[in-house]
């Protein structure tokens, strides 16, 4: 009953809050005021229902906190702990990914392949940022700048020096890394919050420079006619090009997963996570903060640069509009929603965030609204993300001292 009364109060409060914005609309041209009272009713009812549910969830969360001293192993953890099952799931997923273009593209229909290429590009971005934010805890709000570095590296090198895609691919990654080191060097000793605003600033600066320096970067008009990836000089038609791009980016995804996974459970990965958890304790335990942070920052930038090259090649055209703060926020959301540090989680979140809007265009208007709300709710109710990070278990056989080779954590 108390709940009900409280929810009722909250409903009224929200009706008050939304009153001017949701009800009144002033049309200054026709000098009319539109009163949309029905909206208010919806807000009231909606807020009432949500408030009720909210209290219920908060209570449950509080109760949950108190009782579970020992975390229950998550599904993902159990999966990771079972080598046979995880290997099977992995093989299944790989098989589906490989035959995907043949399942969905018939004749000239390669729309779905194209959409998937865009989504997979963001999977790589998400996994790259996962190293910086998820593993090392360095909040980077300008990550998309490194993506831009890779994209423009390829566009400019292919245009001015006639370099091919495969030459530029590693160069793009290295350029991203180089920028990561140059930018990271002075700023990485800043505190976490300062780092956020400074990286945001770098993201903004990158975009402004791309826009203003039009003799080199083509300005807002962008750079067009960027060559598609070549395949031994074969001429490919539209569909083949898309399928080819698909396999390239799929391979990149696989490589990213492989590398991230190897690093995550290594000496370096442990140092990243330790810094994320507690900087002071880490340095007191002998972790070199500057070097370790820089390596995470630069490695994250490397993947963005690498996949930037693929992005430019796949789209044929780039301009600064693809590299805005909203894009950085989108990649960050993938990492956060997926579960910081969790590879599987980030992949699922990236696919969901890129594919759902593509197939649910009807809801496009509400997409960003829901997206913002989900970010808040996720932090409150499931801060560990969709799939919480799994920890590897090391084998240890005390008796004969052999061990620790246990590679089964490796997915």
């Amino acid at each position: 009953m108390a709940h009900l009364k409280r929810s009722f109060g909250i409903g009224l409060w929200f009706m008050f809050l939304t009153l001017p914005l949701v009800v009144v609309r002033v049309n200054t041209l026709s000098q009319e005021v539109q009163w949309r009272w029905s909206n208010l009713l919806w807000v009231g009812v909606g807020a009432f229902a949500i408030a009720w549910f909210w209290q219920f969830s908060i209570n449950r969360r509080a109760a949950g906190r108190a009782s579970t001293v020992a975390d229950k192993p998550s599904l993902a953890q159990r999966l990771a702990d079972d080598p046979v099952l995880s290997r099977r799931v992995l093989l299944g997923a790989a098989a589906v990914a490989i035959v995907f273009p043949w399942l969905v593209s018939t004749g000239q229909n390669f729309y779905h392949v194209n959409v998937m290429v865009s989504a997979l590009i963001f999977v790589v971005l998400g996994l790259g940022l996962n190293i910086t934010v998820g593993l090392a805890g360095l909040l980077d709000l300008g990550y998309i700048a490194f993506f831009a570095v890779g994209a423009y590296t390829y566009a400019l090198l292919s245009k001015n020096f006639d370099l091919g895609f495969w030459t530029c691919l590693p160069l793009g990654g290295l350029m991203g890394m180089l920028f990561g080191v140059i930018l990271g060097f002075p700023i990485l000793r800043l505190r976490g919050d300062y780092l956020a605003i400074v990286t945001l600033g770098f993201g903004a600066i990158t975009k402004i420079v791309l826009e203003n320096w039009d003799t080199l970067f083509g300005g807002a008009a962008g750079l067009a006619n960027i060559p598609r990836p070549e395949l031994f000089g074969l001429l490919l038609d539209g569909r083949q090009k898309s399928v080819y791009s698909y396999y390239i980016v799929l391979a990149l995804v696989a490589l990213t997963i492989f590398v991230t996974n190897r690093l995550k459970n290594s000496r370096i990965g442990h140092a990243w996570m330790a810094l994320r958890e507690d900087e002071i304790a880490s340095v007191a335990m002998g972790v070199d903060m500057a070097r370790t942070k820089l390596s995470a920052y630069a490695l994250g930038a490397f993947w963005a640069g690498l996949v930037g090259v693929v992005f430019a090649a796949h789209n044929n055209f780039i301009n600064p509009d693809s590299f805005t703060f909203m894009d950085s926020a989108m990649v960050l959301a993938m990492v956060v929603l997926g579960g910081m540090g969790s590879i599987l989680g980030v992949i699922i979140a990236a696919l969901a965030l890129k594919l759902l809007p593509e197939y649910l265009r009807a809801f496009a208007e509400y997409r960003m609204l829901v997206f913002g709300a989900v970010m808040v709710l996720m932090m409150i109710f499931r801060p560990q993300g969709l799939i919480s990070d799994t920890r590897r278990k090391y084998d240890y056989d005390g008796a004969d001292g052999a061990n620790g080779e246990g590679d089964h954590g490796g997915k």
Binding site: V69, A70, D71, V259, R262, L263, S266, R267, I268, G269, H270, A271, M273, A274, E277, D278, I280, A281, S282, V283, A284, M285, G286, V287, D288, M289, S295, L299, D389, R391, K393, Y394, Y396, G398, G401, N403, G404, E405
Partner: protein, 267 residues
Amino acid sequence: MAENKRSKLLEVRGLTMDFGGLRAIDSVDLDIFAGEIVALIGPNGAGKTTFFNCVTGIYEPTAGDVLIHPPGGVSRRINGMKPNRITALGMARTFQNIRLFPAMTVLENVMIGRHCRTATTIIDAILRSRRAVREERETVDQSYRLLEKVGLADSADEFARNLAYGAQRRLEIARALATDPFLLLLDEPAAGMNPQETSELDELIVRIRAEEQLAILLIEHDMKLVMNISDRIYVMEYGKEIAQGTPREIKENKKVIEAYLGEEVHA
């Protein structure tokens, strides 16, 4: 000036630390010899933790010298060195407010301690080179051995945040030991422990000194523990060193009794 009998490990001379206009530590001297257990005591706010932070590189002292003489190593002045360098040189610490890595497993927490004693690079890790595999195996073995020593081997795969309070303190000690220190600095290791846990800790500290052959400097309020295990005691008040000596000497020192007047002395 080679000490024949006992070699000096840590030598602090005139250490002074100012925060703004406030002098937190005023010209403190302190020595630690090999194999000793030394306690640093004093009322709250006496500057004990600040002293630790100055010695371990978290703060850079305003004046004075911190010199180390690692056994079999080169002596050097470590003022203003980064904490990770100091740890690599052989001094490791624990924290008053426990600072574990909560979202990592117990074993991984200890493995971090081995960071400065291993050399696997990013490339090694990606390729799982022979060095990486061997180092990882050694790290796991040594870390596990330390967990056994502090009695946490059964919880190796638990998240550190799920350990009980006393166990978290012991884990911090294991993590510090993993850095292969010649001097271990413990900041109130018994804080928040019940008498049972405290007496276990007492036994653990003594055992560590014997088995690992290292010296220990500890800050502690539990006088019973301090008097039990310390070889020598330094007393600080308002940033100044007011006394030093054996437990017996300290117990009878007037200044110390005055300083603690009003404070409960568990002795």
